[in-house]
Structure formats: structure tokens, C-alpha cells
């Protein structure tokens, strides 16, 4: 089914990044070439049609993540970005609505795991469920192109606005849910990143289907960066905000291997995959032992931890690491680590 020539007339979308991305897209249904019609994109073969709104192709799909913001609140932020600029939208409007959402919307700390990826300046990256684009913008500084996809149209409108206002022309925002077929030609991306997304899907078969689609769009030798919650973490055991199917480390590994990923490298992101202040490999025990012995037990990096919602967990961890043998603790802690990241080669 692969059609290497597949393209559409990007200039008709009136947005420069799409000319870069034109060689990436194809019909999500039959993988044939696309053409730009009056207000959208249409498959030249099966005539399926996807609208383009505000210069952003909409490929459909539902959002499975829980949202702390209402649709109206998100629209308010995007409207402010259009009318008054992205900085006011983020620092004034979103900040006043929800501080946690604000922090996660913009904080470049969120993409610190990028150092474990073999990224280069010629790479094409697909950021799935990009939300407000915190990771997208960070990756766009070091890669040739980042396709920022999210099922929420307000999120991608915001990403588009911020990119345009900053004159950043290597970001391609798309409205696209993970429950949809991917409208990309096979093996076009060097890296796909998917953070806090897979576990929100309710069943393992859907998760497998999503991973299979992702596997198809990654170049041979390219990789998927998957960061998600551990099923055995306190957060999961105490019940998350909504349903979903997080896995153990072995569960994620099995799932990835079942669709053809290989050479998996596993990491801990602490305190969580949404705040990856610490990044530890799991293929060797020394870094985790050092982390428990010298950082958790002896550093006071954590005013954030001492006073925030994680106060109790941090205190317990500290008390245990100050008293226990860290080699044993590292072994015991491994299954209950809050979040994992896996770099899986296609």
C-alpha cells in the first residue's frame, strides 16, 4: 500500500511548515495521495475528506485523557493567544485558571528525557498528544521538524499560534487522536514520542493497535519514546482520575515487543513522567542505588517535595533510604517506581 510519492499541495494551506511536511502525509484510510481542496484535504483515490481549520488539518479522533480544564477555559486561552499573544495567554490567562495545567503547558523541564534519545538536527519527530506543546517546542530546537498532534483542537490551535508568533517554522500542528489511523506515509519519522497517553486507553487491544500504527510510521532503526505510569505505583494503586490501563514494566515491554519493537531500553523518570527531574537507567543497578543513597537520603532538592502534595511519599522514601541498605532497597523499589520511560527501536 505504500506510495512514496504521496503529497498534497501544501502552499494552499497558507502555512509554511506544511510545505516541509507535505512529504509526510497520506490518506489515513488507503494511504493514497492527498490533494488540497477548498477547505480541506481530500484523498485522490477514495475521496475521503479532512477539513483544514485555521490552517490546521483535522484528522479526527477523541481525547481519552482526563482534562482539568473545560472546553470553554481552553478556548479562552487560545482566544487570548490569537488576540493578545501566546505569552499573555499562558502566563496570565492559563495561569489564573489552573497553576498545574499552566506549569505543564509550558515547562521545558517536561522534555528533559530528550537527552536519552539519539536525536539529531536532521530528525523528523512526531509528538503524539502534544497538549499545549511544552515538549514540542523543546524538541523543535534540536530537530528538523516536529509534527505536533493532539485530538484537542484548542491545543493544536495554541501550538500553531505560538509557533507562528515566534516565527518558528519547523512545527506542524495537526488535530489527530490516537484512536485514528495515522495519516502519515510509512517510515517517515526518526522518533515518535508519546507521554502519558497509552495508559488512558481502556483495553490492551486498542493499545496494541495504537503501537502498531506508530511502529509503521517510524523509520527502521528509529525509535519510540514511551513514558507512562506504572500500574504498581502509589498513584495507580490509589486510583487515578479516571479509568485506563497502565501496565507494569514487563507489561509495557511485552506490548511493545508484540508489535515489532526491539532493543528496548528502560528508564525511571522521577518523581513522575510529567516532571522528569531525575532520569535513571534500569539496565544497571548502580545509578538507582546512588539516587537512593545520595540524592533521596541526603539532598534537600525538595522544597517542592517537602511542601507539595508529594510530601508524605517523599518523607517516607527519605526515612527508608536513610536507614536501609540501598542495594536491597533499589531491588525492592524497582517494581513500584511511579513512572517508566522506554526507548524502543523500530
Amino acid at each position: 500500500m505504500q506510495k512514496a510519492k504521496s503529497t498534497f499541495n501544501a502552499s494552499e494551506l497558507g502555512y509554511q511548515p506544511y510545505s516541509l511536511a507535505a512529504t509526510l502525509f497520506c490518506c489515513a484510510s488507503c494511504q493514497e495521495t492527498l490533494k488540497a481542496s477548498a477547505n480541506g484535504l481530500q484523498c485522490r483515490s477514495c475521496s475521503e475528506y479532512w477539513p483544514v481549520k485555521d490552517g490546521i488539518p483535522h484528522f479526527g479522533g477523541k481525547d481519552h485523557r482526563p482534562s482539568v480544564l473545560t472546553d470553554a477555559q481552553r478556548r479562552k486561552v487560545v482566544d487570548a493567544a490569537v488576540d493578545e499573544g501566546w505569552e499573555i495567554a499562558i502566563h496570565d490567562v492559563l495561569r489564573s485558571i489552573d497553576r498545574v495545567a499552566y506549569r505543564q503547558a509550558i515547562d521545558e523541564y517536561r522534555a528533559q528525557w530528550r537527552f536519552i534519545l539519539p536525536l539529531s538536527s536532521s530528525d523528523y519527530v512526531l509528538d503524539l498528544n502534544c497538549a499545549w506543546g511544552a515538549v514540542t517546542f523543546n524538541l523543535s530546537e534540536i530537530c528538523a521538524l516536529v509534527v505536533a498532534a493532539d485530538p484537542c483542537s484548542e491545543y493544536v490551535r495554541f501550538v500553531a499560534q505560538r509557533a507562528r508568533q515566534k516565527g518558528q517554522n519547523n512545527i506542524v500542528p495537526l488535530q489527530l487522536g490516537l484512536d485514528q489511523s495515522l495519516p502519515f506515509l510509512p517510515r517517515r519519522f526518526d522518533t515518535v514520542v508519546m507521554v502519558d497517553s497509552l495508559s488512558w486507553f481502556p483495553d490492551i487491544e486498542t493499545q496494541r493497535l495504537i503501537l502498531n500504527r506508530i511502529h509503521n510510521v517510524i523509520k527502521t532503526g528509529g525509535c519510540l519514546f514511551l513514558a507512562d505510569t506504572n500500574r504498581l505505583s502509589c498513584v495507580s494503586l490509589l486510583g487515578r482520575a479516571s479509568a485506563g490501563t497502565p501496565h507494569t514494566l514487563h507489561g509495557y515491554q511485552r506490548l511493545l515487543r508484540s508489535v515489532g519493537f526491539r532493543r528496548l531500553r528502560e528508564y525511571v523518570l522521577a518523581p513522575s513522567h510529567m516532571e522528569p527531574f531525575f532520569i535513571l537507567p534500569l539496565d544497571t543497578s548502580r545509578p538507582l542505588e546512588f539516587f537512593l543513597r545520595e540524592i533521596i537520603a541526603r539532598q534537600d532538592f525538595g522544597m517542592h517535595f517537602r511542601s507539595g502534595p508529594q510530601k508524605l511519599a517523599f518523607r517516607m522514601a527519605r526515612a527508608v533510604t536513610q536507614r536501609g541498605p540501598t542495594r536491597l532497597l533499589a531491588r525492592l523499589a524497582r517494581p513500584f517506581i511511579p513512572s517508566f520511560a522506554i526507548v524502543a527501536q523500530a
Binding site: 505569552e87 521545558e108 537527552f115 536519552i116 523543546n138 537507567p281 544497571t284 532538592f301
Partner: protein, 366 residues
């Protein structure tokens, strides 16, 4: 990125400072709690502890900043005694990988000082006295040993080091009438320093307990990105004691509440308590050791506040372009736009407190 770094290190291992035989395998522990840097501890084979640390800019946009820090440390390493060299990062191995400047240096021993002084949200008097003494001693030693300037202030130096920061503060801040009046008075007092003997010393720029590693009775000082070869004396010292106290009461550097900053400011510099007495004693000892006339303490103290206003303004303005913005809480301006709020962060209010109460000078000045 780390795979490139591992390949590079395995190949260039012998070029690293104090490198033994080349390992077969490396692993990395990332700590990304700094403002513009990410640090990776480097573990060789199955070694218990990391031997080196690699520092990278959070983004290539920070390459210049990191290079500036390296240059400052290298300059300092060339200038100071060997025993002091051991208290600052290095020797450094610098390489460019995937568009990032990467510094590799030996891991400095010790535990961050902020973890050693606070017990349940309060400073512990005995451990605090010990840590304050260590920091005080180191600061005096390094400032005496590093290049410094001990002569009468000429007009150009006076402008660069004293008056210009004040002018910059006035431009970047929204001042009340009384604050403007206070700034004008301070400006006159600073201008009157021309021809007076007031030494200038090395300035670290972020001398806080979290950047100080303690290993028994030795310390090492990290994070030199805000350093300057010369600055008015006492800026680092005032900053250290205020942040030592603030950290102990869980008051963050920027986004705490105004009420708490005011209370902490009072407790550290103006109150009648064991800690402020300790600070006053050590401030006087500092003046004596570094030949700073105590008569200049009020001006130097105001200059410390002005310096922090400017430093945080630059930091927050830059940060707003890329990330989450820390802003003061609980101030009358808290509901204003972020741009307006940047013009009145904590230290502007603290300067305002000095303005309305001109007799409020640090204990050490009495």
C-alpha cells in the same frame, strides 16, 4: 545524546582529569533540577559511585551561558591557591556534541548544605553556626585570594558597580513615590563614595546553601553562572544568610508569599534573635577581614537588595520566553499582568520597606 556522549567518553577517557583505565561501559543518572543546566552523573562499569559529572545546557540556546560559566571557573582556577581550587568545579573537559556544549568534570564530594541545617522547618542553632562559619570562612578566603581591587573608587568604577545597577533597577521596576525618593537618596549616597576606599571582590552570584557541598569541615561551591570577577563586597554574604534562613522555613527563592519574605527579611537582618545576632557578628567579622568600613554597611545592604531586584528581573524575563514563570504570591500586584508583576517582585517590596523606615538598617550597622 547520551549514546553520543558514551561513545565519546569511551574513546576519550584518558583525556579526562585523573582518568584511570578506560571502562567498557558507562551509565548515566540525570539530575535536571537546575535552571539552565542538566547534570548527568557518569558511572563507569559497575562502580559504586560516579567519578565524573557531565553538565549540558537544558537547550542549545543556553550554550553561551554555559561557556560563560566555564570561562569564569577557568579564570578562577588559574588565580587561586591549590587548596581553594579543590573547592570549585574542575578541572573541566569541554566538548561539543550534537550542538550542545558539554562539560565533564570530577564529581565534587559532599552533601548540600541546605540539607544539614534545617530540622522540621527551623534552623538548628548548633549545626547552623557550624555551617555559617564554614561558608563565611570560605567566602573570605576566596575573595582574599582571587583577584580583587583595593583602592579608592574612581568615577567609572563607581558608575559600573554602584550607580548603574540602581539606574537599571529604576528602569525595570514600578516604584512608589517613597521608593523613588529612597532610590534617589541612595543614589546620592553612592555617588558620594567617589574617592573613598571601598574594595571590590569576586562575586559568585548564587551563593546559597543548595550550591554549597559540605564534606566534614571542607566545602565546595557549585553553579558559577552568575559570577562576576569584581563586585561590591557583602552581596554574596547577605544573600547566603537570607537564603539559608528562607530555605529553613520553606520559603522558595521567588514564588513565596510577600508576607513571608518580609518576615524572613526582618528575622535575618533586623530582628533580635540568635540567628540575626549570629549574622551581625559574622558581618562585622567579614568587614574586618576584607577591609570594608562598617560605615558603608547601609549602602551595601541596599545595594544587595537592588542587585537582587535586577538579577531576578533578568532571570524571570528570560524564563517567561521559555518556561514556567515563578512569581511572588500574596502581593497587591498579584492579580496584575505578568509583565507588571515582573516589575514588583519580592525584593522591590523589601526595598520599599527600607524606604518607609529609613532607620531600619541591618543589626551589624549599629
Amino acid at each position: 545524546m547520551l549514546s553520543h556522549l558514551e561513545d565519546y567518553l569511551l574513546h576519550a577517557w584518558r583525556q579526562l582529569p585523573d582518568a584511570g583505565s578506560a571502562p567498557r561501559h558507562l551509565s548515566f543518572l540525570g539530575q535536571a533540577t537546575g535552571v539552565s543546566k542538566v547534570c548527568f552523573f557518569i558511572f563507569a562499569d559497575d562502580e559504586h559511585s560516579p567519578r565524573y559529572i557531565a553538565k549540558l545546557p537544558r537547550s542549545p540556546a543556553y550554550n553561551d551561558e554555559l561557556m560563560g560559566e566555564i570561562a569564569a571557573i577557568e579564570r578562577l582556577r588559574k588565580a587561586v591557591r591549590d587548596d581553594l581550587k579543590a573547592t570549585i568545579p574542575g578541572p573541566m573537559h569541554v566538548v561539543s556534541l550534537s550542538g550542545h556544549c558539554v562539560i565533564i568534570e570530577p564529581v565534587l564530594p559532599g552533601q548540600p548544605m541546605d540539607a544539614l541545617v534545617s530540622v522540621d522547618g527551623r534552623l538548628d542553632p548548633s549545626s547552623t553556626a557550624r555551617q555559617v562559619a564554614l561558608a563565611h570562612h570560605w567566602l573570605i578566603e576566596i575573595q582574599q585570594n582571587a583577584p580583587h581591587r583595593q583602592q579608592r573608587l574612581d568615577a567609572a568604577t563607581l558608575w559600573d558597580q554602584f550607580v548603574e545597577p540602581l539606574e537599571l533597577m529604576k528602569t525595570n521596576s514600578e516604584l512608589t513615590q517613597s521608593e523613588e525618593k529612597h532610590a534617589e537618596e541612595l543614589c546620592s549616597e553612592l555617588r558620594a563614595l567617589e574617592g573613598r576606599e571601598l574594595p571590590l571582590y569576586l562575586y559568585h552570584g548564587d551563593f546559597r546553601p543548595g550550591n554549597i557541598l559540605v564534606d566534614d569541615d571542607r566545602i565546595a561551591v557549585l553553579d558559577w553562572q552568575f559570577s562576576r570577577p569584581l563586585a561590591p563586597p557583602l552581596l554574596d554574604w547577605f544573600s547566603f544568610v537570607f537564603r539559608l534562613y528562607s530555605g529553613s522555613v520553606q520559603l522558595p527563592d521567588i514564588d513565596g508569599s510577600l508576607e513571608k519574605y518580609r518576615a524572613a527579611f526582618h528575622e535575618v537582618f533586623f530582628g533580635r534573635n540568635w540567628f540575626s545576632e549570629l549574622v551581625a557578628d559574622y558581618t562585622r567579622a567579614y568587614c574586618k577581614a576584607l577591609h570594608v568600613e562598617e560605615a558603608y554597611l547601609p549602602q551595601l545592604f541596599s545595594l544587595y537588595v537592588v542587585n537582587n531586584i535586577n538579577q531576578f528581573h533578568v532571570f524571570l524575563t528570560e524564563r517567561a520566553r521559555r518556561g514556567y514563570l515563578y512569581l511572588l504570591r500574596g502581593a497587591p500586584t498579584s492579580g496584575h499582568s505578568w509583565k507588571q508583576q515582573l516589575r514588583r517582585q519580592a525584593y522591590v517590596w523589601l526595598l520599599g520597606d527600607l524606604a518607609v523606615n529609613p532607620t531600619l538598617w541591618p543589626n551589624a550597622a549599629h
